[in-house]
Symmetry: C2
Subunit: 364 residues, 2 copies
Amino acid sequence: MMHIEELDTPALIVDLDIMDRNLARVAEYTARHGLRLRPHTKTHKIPALARRQLELGAIGVTVAKVGEAEVMLESGSPDLLVAYPVIGQRKLDRLMAVAERTQVTVSLDSEVTARELSQAARTAGTTIGVLAEIDVGLGRVGVETGPRLSNLASEISRLPNLCFQGVAFYPGHIKSAGHADTALQALSDKLDSAVSELEQQGFEVSVVSGGSTPALFRSHLVRRMNEIRPGTYIFNDRNTWLSGACELSDCAASILATVVSTAVKGQAIIDAGSKTFSSDRCSQEDAQGFGYFPDAPDAELAKMNEEHGFVNVAAVVKGWRVGDRARIIPNHICVAVNLHERIYGVRGEHVEEIWEVKARGKLQ
Amino acid sequence: MMHIEELDTPALIVDLDIMDRNLARVAEYTARHGLRLRPHTKTHKIPALARRQLELGAIGVTVAKVGEAEVMLESGSPDLLVAYPVIGQRKLDRLMAVAERTQVTVSLDSEVTARELSQAARTAGTTIGVLAEIDVGLGRVGVETGPRLSNLASEISRLPNLCFQGVAFYPGHIKSAGHADTALQALSDKLDSAVSELEQQGFEVSVVSGGSTPALFRSHLVRRMNEIRPGTYIFNDRNTWLSGACELSDCAASILATVVSTAVKGQAIIDAGSKTFSSDRCSQEDAQGFGYFPDAPDAELAKMNEEHGFVNVAAVVKGWRVGDRARIIPNHICVAVNLHERIYGVRGEHVEEIWEVKARGKLQ
């Protein structure tokens, strides 16, 4: 078995014990509260990890792109939710090929998208599940609740080869567990009235799909929501930790890097920059830097170029020497994984698993 | 031949006429001024494009990583410069395998790195060219000129199986063509005295390798510099344009995206976010946004999530509809290319070339 020291750097490593614990915790939480779990695979992009999530009780998996859906067929998921409007004939043709092999559901927010999806499904002789996407405060995609939602639900229900299943939303504006309760109460009320209104109009709303990582373990407080689609929870990251949604000890993924230069006083350069971490800043506005050194908390990843991480080591007692290795928890693990060809599952000092990031780069 | 409308989005497209012009302009400029051109391939990561650069007179190509060097062997380059210290036995072994197939040069800034490289070259029975990396003001890697440079040059010259060839530097702190002249004069003076000092000490300094994109066409003003390693010039980007180093019409690469939602008033969502562009902000501090819409200059790519670009269209007269397509010039093309599996070379409305981004993800 390969020792971790044998890995060339930079490498994205995952502590398997922590990952397993993260997976089990959310599986247990959702089971306990009767919530359907449809994990978003954009975080790991690895069919083998989707399979683990399914084995632990996930009812299906979520993807953002048709290209990801094609790759995730390999997970054997009984259902693929494309949580993104699918636009354009070529993509629709590819989606229909996926739908020949497993149940496909799409969330969308416009009548034109619904009509084109219906047309494609009709041509292919298949039926696609549809969730009406609603905006619950993020202001990204999704119709307003009320008349616009009713119109969209009507259109979806009327169109052939589509099966209206309910609503989807993404509460990405709820960024911190700390102030989540008020925001979740408002969300709960909003959903309650929106779903009740649809039901009064005769729509059957079997799925109310949402869930945000920062408020994951408060999902049961949102009354009508019966499904969550968290992604990050499998690994967690600095953002998740600083948002209060997990402990530092729940962060399973880190970048293993090597010090390549100490020529500038008070600074160490590591071989990991924006092409290794991405340049995502921390989502907590008062937090600086591009990652956290669990073994050297006083070191700061202050700046990055493509292949250079600038580590401010002025506050660190121990000297950093060329050839030393360091571990850094990234701000945002989803965009970091997407930069790597493979990730390494480690237990203690040993590399137990090597996974190819198969859905990396499947942008279309 | 495929029409551009047939491409699934998001897609990274390159206008071949503009790219050819960019390549020819720099080839002509360097030839006219007797400058060696060793283009950095981190921008395109495509051996076929490196080959074009070599056909136009480049004396070799530059890479940042051993993994990129392995891929760039395919370009047939007579010389590969790894402009990055190579640390660790496995990487050194791989580098020696590359050196069996072409001449390899490495830039480095520490004695320990030089010693390990020498040892690996000796074991492999090969000779590696070495450039001593100096810091000319960026404060990233590189020793100070003066005694530290002399010591490093001595060590490189003394060590077996290394061939001291001169100095390398990266003037990344010169960010704008506008204030470049003063900075270039200071750089010129600094290099002059550093190189003269080395020569007086008996070192033969045959290579003085530098060059930054913003000041590319002023390279001839830096007296002792005889080689440049620009990368971005093949495509250019919003940063290059706003720095004054090229015109908007010299930007060859753009992201083709589709409007997927207009549910929120005054806003269009495109299917291209931080997993398509990277989240690099503009290097010109007064410039906002994550890209430029050449066909809709009033639209602003104000914010991004992973797969969503938030376009502020409040100032745009023409409405944006779901299914419409838009072209966006990214802030920083090097990190954008690195997110794509392939890029498309277009002439007018037709896709003439499809290149796999072969060195993408070769982080080690």
